[in-house]
Amino acid sequence: MPFSKIIRASALAASLFGVLAADAAPLRPNWSIDPAKTNIGFSIDAVGWPRTVGKFGQFDGKLAVDLDHPAKSQIKFRVQANSVNAGSDGLNEFVRSTALLNADQFPTIDFVSTSVEKTSDRSVRVVGDLTLLGVTRPLTVDVDINKKSDGARARLGFTVNTKIDRLDYGMTSGYPIISRDVFLTISTEALEQ
């Protein structure tokens, strides 16, 4: 067999293997998060206090989006707990402390999708696992999708509004003065690779 044929055959085998492997592999990201257009915010109430609003500055997201078959899409999101910003150094230090995020021991907050279901032309329901303080619990979120284009590349805007019960993750400090419900507002834009 000529050398060029061997190369071509190898390439075909590799691409076939790639397709098969894609089915088995958990994630093959084809969209990347645009950090400049991503906001991971939270808010929480406490008795006698104004609503506390904050956000996380460091995160990483991997998206495998299949627009034709949304169920095949996968999402992985990782947030650095230390990057929390609640408005002042003193309050940030408290939120990062063992009382709440315990960021030294649990440096990341992770979400990994387990299934994606199309609910309308502009929304999907994502079921996944959220790991916070080392505790993994299922979380279902409704995601609004906004297809855009900046001319050269396709963009997908995602918006999520949900809430979690922090007690489920063992974050019991300050309860019931500090509410158990933590509201999450996540908006992000992904660029096609």
Binding site: P50, V53, G87, S88, A99, S173, G174, Y175
Partner: protein, 187 residues
């Protein structure tokens, strides 16, 4: 004869401690009212609470110094010849010391007993230990005592200032002047 020893003037240490305490207590009262009633941003309010706690320990330290200074230095003779005024002045000073003590200790108990475990950090330099364990019922009681003591101090300070002004402007005696550093005495 040194001014402090002439029996008419407070000692320099007492004068310095008086004005430092006045500044600290008025700052504490203002901060307390502002942080609980005027600030609508959590982070700002959180930061002001930490400053308020730190200043509370400054007030407690100054109070201990003042009591010590009162014990080791002579109290100048009162100007008033009216017995009830002399008694009222003594009672006023005692009440100010007492309520400052109650307000600072009840604040410390409140900050310690709360179930929100924010450590008491003295101006973010070092941590001051909690005086009691977390206890919501105790926090409520201590907070009430703190509020009552605080409003009592506000009333007492107002009366104290008005009395000093009355001595200065109406009686025209040296009651106020002798608490001013290097203030010349009229008689």
């Amino acid at each position: 004869m040194k001014p402090a020893e002439d029996g008419r003037r407070w000692s320099p240490a007492t004068i310095a401690l008086h004005w430092l305490s006045a500044l600290t207590i008025i700052s504490l009262l203002a901060l307390g009212l502002i942080m609980t009633h005027a600030i609508t941003d959590t982070a700002q309010r959180f930061d002001l609470y930490q400053v308020h706690k730190s200043l509370g320990f400054v007030a407690l330290f100054l109070l201990a110094c003042r009591v010590a200074a009162r014990m080791i230095s002579r109290t100048p003779t009162a100007f008033s010849v009216i017995a009830w005024e002399r008694r009222a002045a003594t009672a006023m000073h005692g009440a100010l010391y007492l309520f400052t003590f109650v307000a600072t200790i009840s604040g410390w108990v409140t900050a310690s007993a709360t179930i929100i475990p924010v450590p008491i950090q003295f101006f973010r330099l070092f941590t001051i230990p909690n005086i009691v364990a977390s206890n919501p019922a105790l926090e409520k009681q201590a907070s009430l005592v703190h509020t009552v003591a605080t409003w009592s101090i506000i009333v007492l300070v107002a009366v104290h200032v008005l009395a000093a002004l009355k001595h200065h402007l109406v009686d025209r005696d040296d009651t106020l002047r002798r608490m001013i550093p290097d203030g010349s005495l009229a008689r």
